[in-house]
């Protein structure tokens, strides 16, 4: 239960950073935090009490004593996707800094209305 609350807090903290921080890099960090929060939340959804990792490395392991493998598989994908987004975001930040010589999001408002 606490896992849920912790993960959700992470998501909210990340969102707070995205919503209020002026620095583009901090916003990107915020996005990453949101991602991590979501991933943790997902993993904890798949958690089963007293169970092991879903790998049949020893004959003694049985299927009913394993955690749900699906969230893990999905989170693996989600992590990579989060990474990709972050990479592109950082690339854009580099470009923006090049053009505007600032990382303040309030000063990067050429396009409006």
């Amino acid at each position: 239960m606490l896992y849920y609350i912790g993960a959700i807090s992470l998501i909210l903290i990340g969102m707070y950073a995205v919503l209020t921080k002026k620095n583009l890099l901090k916003i990107v960090v915020g996005l990453s935090i949101v991602d991590s929060g979501v991933n943790l939340l997902f993993i904890s959804v798949g958690y089963v009490k007293d169970a092991t990792a879903p790998i049949f490395s020893m004959p003694s392991l049985t299927a009913d004593k394993m955690v749900d493998p699906v969230p893990q598989a999905l989170v693996l994908t989600a992590i990579v996707i989060g990474l990709a987004t972050t990479a592109v975001a950082l690339g854009l930040v580099i470009r923006l800094y090049d053009h505007h010589k600032t990382l303040n999001i309030n000063k990067i408002r050429q396009l409006k209305w």
């Binding site: 969102m15 995205v18 919503l19 999001i105 408002r109 209305w113």
Partner: protein
């Protein structure tokens, strides 16, 4: 076998052909267009007035075209005016750029008008209605000048509002009757709920009212008429605006006639028409541009037609339809003569041009017959329609309306006289000494129309015959007007031919007499030959007599003019646009704000999920 699609495809393919011709042959476009228009005109007349039915299934929608007596009347008007307009354009437009574009849109507009009148289902009616709108819009903006574009956008905006009103009426009808067929809808209309009926009728009336320039929806008309090339203006005013009348006729007699509130519809329309006639005439009086003057006059005349239609008595309808035809003819004449003046002098301003009578006698003659007809002086066609209108008003006890119409008709003399006086009479400025009469291809249409107005005035039966048939389509009305009946109130029987003969003789004799008498007395003076309180005017002061011609009248109606619908609409438009301007500030350009909107949306949806989705979170 001639059927409607043949005519339509001749027009539309002809339009494309004209465009192509312009690319390969110089002057090709005009000749192609003239031939196409003539051929299509022939087909329209050859088409049996009740038949030529054609059904086309487009997916779930079935289109039906058919010629009825009612549509035949309008189709003939369109075909004749269209052909004459193109004939007129051949020399009028010579040497201009993008002639292919001009003739293509001209033919498209004509085709669309024919499509409208032949449509037996609402979808194709609307389809052609929109094609007509955009092709005429293309012609309004033809000159490519800033002013014409303003006029064009205004025209299109009002037309769009009108068209969408029509469209909504159509879909409301369809929702009730599950059919787009006119006949089906008419049949089922009386069974629909009162709300639907009111909505449909008011939407349709407003939509068609826009095209027929009914007050207060007329504001697009003056500028659009002024800016379009004169060859098309003749068709625009003479035939295109009549499509609104065509639609109103359907609304009043096919739809409204089956409802309980028929009488209110009629009264409202009659009053709107009456007011249109009066106010437009007032506006016409104060114009100083020939085409704008004619435009307002056109609006006023359409007001008469609406009054006639709205009266709903056989005589009223007959007056309206007769005036429809007549107005098509004489307004085309007037616009053509104004165009002729424009072609030779480069302006249509009443303040600048004067004294062209000797230089352009035939144009003057056309204009003269035109204004006589507008004014409703016998023996020309206009007289008969006016007479019928008054009689119909009397019969139905609309005494106030008579007064309104009477004021309008009287005031009309002011602008009509100004029109002919300013352009053709008075002293000629030096710069117009070398003006020549326009080429034959422009004179022929004008002369033909003049002849028609004369003939129709003398032998109204020629025109009354198709009108009578058309009335049969609108309801069980019979056209039974004879001059004798009218005059029988005085116990006498006079027919038009006699009146015509008498008046014609007196007119000619009078003209000859005055001409001979004043032969020596006329002294030609320059417009500058004038002294105002001892001061000698400077060269660039405009002292043509026509300047401020109707100023006293203008002063008299000043209170009315202050309240201008146009200004009101403009104000509304501006306010709306500035509202839009503020609204778009929602898009602040700050990414974080957008993110905030997202979260805000989530919060709103969560908090109100009970009332929005019925799920309490």
């Amino acid at each position: 076998m001639i059927s409607v699609p043949v005519i339509l495809s001749v027009m539309f393919l002809g339009g494309v052909l004209a465009w192509l011709a312009n690319r390969f042959v110089p002057k090709g476009a005009s000749w192609t267009a003239a031939i196409i228009a003539a051929f299509a005109g022939y087909l329209v007349f050859a088409l049996p007035s009740c038949g030529g039915e054609y059904t086309l299934a487009l997916g779930s929608i079935t289109l039906v075209w058919k010629s009825t007596n009612y549509s035949a009347l309008f189709a003939m008007l369109v075909a004749v005016l269209g052909f004459l307009g193109i004939l007129y354009s051949m020399d009028f437009m010579a040497g201009k750029k993008n002639l292919g574009y001009y003739y293509m849109n001209f033919l498209f507009a004509l085709g669309a008008m024919l499509g409208i009148v032949y449509s037996q289902d609402l979808v194709s009616l609307f389809f052609f209605w929109e094609v007509m709108t955009w092709s005429s819009f293309m012609l309004v903006i033809y000159s490519g000048e800033e002013k014409s574009h303003k006029a064009g956008i205004k025209y299109f905006a009002y037309s769009a509002i009108g068209a969408y009103l029509i469209l909504s009426a159509i879909v409301i009808l369809y929702a009730q009757s599950n059919s787009f067929l006119l006949s089906e809808n008419v049949k089922m209309f009386s069974g629909m709920s009162l709300g639907t009926q009111i909505m449909v009728i008011s939407f349709l009336a407003l939509g068609f009212g826009v095209k027929s320039a009914m007050m207060p929806l007329h504001v697009w008309a003056p500028e659009a008429y002024k800016e379009s090339p004169s060859g098309f203006t003749a068709v625009f005013s003479g035939a295109l605006s009549k499509m609104g009348i065509f639609g109103l006729g359907l609304v009043v007699f096919k739809f409204a006639a089956n409802t309980e509130f028929f009488v209110y519809v009629r009264e409202t329309l009659a009053w709107l028409g009456g007011l249109t006639a009066m106010l437009a005439t007032f506006y016409a009086v104060i114009q100083s541009d020939a085409k704008k003057l004619l435009a307002y006059s056109s609006i006023g005349q359409l007001g008469y037609i609406i009054v006639g239609l709205a009266l709903g008595t056989p005589l009223g309808i007959m007056a309206a339809l007769f005036l429809t035809i007549m107005h098509g003819a004489f307004k085309a004449m007037l616009f053509m003569s104004a165009g002729a003046v424009y072609m030779r002098t480069g302006t249509t301003s009443l303040d600048d041009v004067s004294g062209l009578i000797t230089k352009m006698p035939l144009t003057f003659l056309t204009a003269l017959f035109g204004i006589i007809s507008v004014a409703g002086i016998p023996p020309l066609g206009g007289f008969i329609s006016k007479w019928m209108l008054y009689q119909a008003l009397l019969e139905t006890n609309h005494y106030f309306l008579i007064i309104v119409i009477f004021i309008a008709s009287t005031a009309a003399f002011l602008y009509l006289y100004r029109f002919i006086f300013s352009l053709f009479l008075g002293q000629r400025e030096k710069e117009f000494e070398h003006v020549k009469e326009v080429p034959w291809s422009m004179l022929v249409p004008m002369m033909l129309l003049t002849l028609f107005v004369l003939v129709a005035g003398v032998f109204p039966g020629l025109v009354l015959d198709p009108i009578g048939k058309a009335m049969g389509y609108l309801g069980n009305f019979k056209a039974s007007w004879e001059p004798q009946v009218v005059f029988s109130a005085w116990g006498e029987k006079i027919n038009m031919q006699v009146i015509a003969g008498t008046i014609g003789t007196i007119f000619i004799l009078g003209a000859l007499f005055i001409g001979f008498k004043n032969r020596k007395a006329t002294r030609v003076v320059s417009t500058k030959d004038i002294h105002t309180a001892g001061e000698i005017p400077t060269e660039n002061e405009n002292l043509t007599y026509a300047v401020n011609f109707n100023q006293p009248f203008e002063r008299a109606i000043a209170p009315i003019l202050k309240w201008s619908v146009d200004k009101l609409f403009n104000l509304l438009g501006e306010n709306l646009e500035s509202t839009f301007e503020y609204l778009r500030y929602v898009y602040t350009g700050n990414g974080q704000t957008y993110a905030m909107y997202v979260i805000l949306m989530v919060v709103i949806l969560i908090l109100f999920s009970g009332s929005i989705f019925g799920i309490h979170l």
